[in-house]
Symmetry: C2
């Protein structure tokens, strides 16, 4: 707190990202990163990039990336907006669409950054409880709102809503923006991008950080009709003309060009996830179904916070959230098969862990 | 305009950056880019970077870059904040410090993005006229303000204020933040960084885009006392946890490590600037003194807009601002000697241009 701050800054509670440890040799299953390298073309971009080009500003519209995304997604380029990670895209969307008199409606358990953006921009929030099975119940969302946002698949639960339920919501909720955050959709969810043409109030966001193994480069995007893309561009161009640097643009394009590799890596992670699920069940975990690159798992006897601390002593990082209704759960990122072996071995070494018969 | 936008978005007038042309072979003197490549170490970083690392999130604090900046500038790392270009740093500073009841005070002619940030965040502005010689008259700035911001050297005039005048302002204005934007300081200005220790309300911003030839990578920073850095971090961590990508961090460090090259290139640009000044004077231009990598020049007979259009037909881009009080001026970036030759040749080919005797 400082007398020099804008008054609103005093009450901000910033987002806490998962730990990025500075020591090596940890099995890092705490921030939903991809265990496989980005597409081979990305390495080629770095090796061949002439540093001299960096003396110029990048294309403020990142057209090369927008156009390649248009081809990959099969949507017109005027339906696309890119930003410095999907977090920046989301921040601009809150500014562009959700500063309304009525509150923004969202699930009470979802990506916790939404509350932080709302706080930053003075947006009221109306939280909706999840069902007892942790699924989102869109059918109960109030029509009197200043917008609706949720992640699909949801985080940290990993559960996906069928497209039919999103369509039904959009048929009811026509007067405010509905934002579907699809950060994890490539691991088994159904994307709402195909609904963008039909619904003038739908915004879908995705990211290169998970399924495209480019968390280190910061690329996210939104898909929506042009009048909503225009709103995002007005905010972006009032904040930072050049959010995407030249290397992010070039490496992003290279990633998109390799669809085979992308599909192969997503499938590999899905296979490892389902194998890991079976192994965790045998160790006494209850797990939610997952359409993501992580598992949300609760042990029958051992408390979540304790287990996270124990795993850390064994060099395995997983994510734990302290809010009481999910405090018994661990969010475990799907790594390589070898990393999952290390997780299982570490868990088995816990004194209270008993392996069930297969 | 769209019924789905937040109401405030309808009235936003976004910043218009200088053109980034998509055709090659233009002499590009319109966006104050550096004509020389970045430090040799930057190319090495790109060539040797293992793309596999990009699958992980970057360090959210960009500590490597912060620490190297601390060494280069001779300030403690807790005095430093980095962002995705100094435009992002400025945007966060407006949010963190200038959303006050009283208006933000600034020169009427300066970096025009300040008005856009103010608009975005609902900040009132009180403009102060420049003196007749286009210099900033800090001594007349009202003490009753919600903050003060100016560029030093100023843009697009190129004029620098002596440090003594900034010190005198800080002695008078102790209750609100004074932000000095030093984007161009390395080409001949006096930096206020040395005053940061004495003044708890001083923020100094700088950029890698001009003097470090890294506009394409987007790196900017602020220097201030820790309680102000803390305010910036609260906003940053409520907006985007990881604004700096891994390559920007690594290349930024490489640039900082090569002080000799940095000084050599800055001196080269200063020499070219003063040669170009003399040549433009012989062609009938009036020029303001410049402590930057550009010249602000007005021809005695030929109108600025016309001259800009004419130069464009000759493949030379310069910047022109339409506001009436500076509409007769061109802002001309200092390029290589060969680029300045091309500028002079293009000007000489104008039918109304008469070369004076040397």
């Amino acid at each position: 707190m400082s007398k020099f701050w804008s008054p609103q800054i005093n009450d901000l509670v910033p987002y806490t990202p998962g730990e990025q440890p500075k020591v090596a040799n940890l099995v890092k299953l705490n921030t939903n990163e991809n265990p496989y390298p980005p597409a081979h073309g990305v390495q080629k971009v770095l090796n061949e990039f002439e540093a001299d080009r960096l003396r110029l500003y990048p294309d403020p519209d990142a057209s090369a990336l927008i156009n390649e995304l248009a081809t990959t997604l099969g949507v017109p380029s005027e339906n696309l907006f890119v930003g410095n990670g999907s977090d920046e895209v989301l921040a601009h969307a809150f500014m562009a669409f959700f500063r309304q008199e009525k509150p923004l409606v969202k699930p009470d358990i979802t990506y916790s950054f939404y509350d932080v953006y709302a706080d930053l921009y003075g947006i009221k929030i109306e939280n909706q409880k999840l069902n007892d099975d942790f699924s989102i119940s869109l059918e109960n969302y109030p029509s009197d709102n200043g917008g609706i946002i949720f992640a699909n698949p949801n985080a940290p639960t990993g559960l996906a809503l069928p497209l039919e339920q999103i369509k039904a919501l959009l048929d009811r909720n026509t007067e405010t923006v509905v934002l579907v955050d699809e950060a994890y959709v490539d691991f088994g969810g159904e994307s709402a991008i195909e609904l963008v043409n039909q619904y003038p109030n739908l915004v879908v966001t995705q990211t290169f950080s998970k399924s495209r193994s480019l968390a280190g480069l910061r690329i996210g995007y939104a898909v929506a009709q042009p009048h909503l893309i225009d709103g995002l561009n007005r905010v972006k161009n009032s904040f930072n003309s050049y959010p995407m640097d030249m290397l992010a643009i070039a490496a992003g394009v290279a990633s998109l060009k390799d669809a085979d590799y992308f599909n192969e890596m997503c499938n590999k992670i899905i296979t490892t996830r389902e194998n890991t699920r079976a192994r965790l069940e045998r160790l006494g975990f209850n797990l939610l179904p997952s359409a993501t690159n992580f598992l949300f798992a609760e042990h029958k006897f051992i408390e979540g916070g304790e287990l996270m601390g124990y795993l850390r002593t064994k060099g395995v990082l997983v994510r734990h959230f302290s809010r009481p209704d999910i405090a018994n759960f661990l969010r475990i990122t799907i790594g390589t098969d070898a990393e999952m072996d290390a997780l299982i071995e570490a868990l088995k070494s816990h004194p209270d862990m008993v392996e069930l018969d297969a």
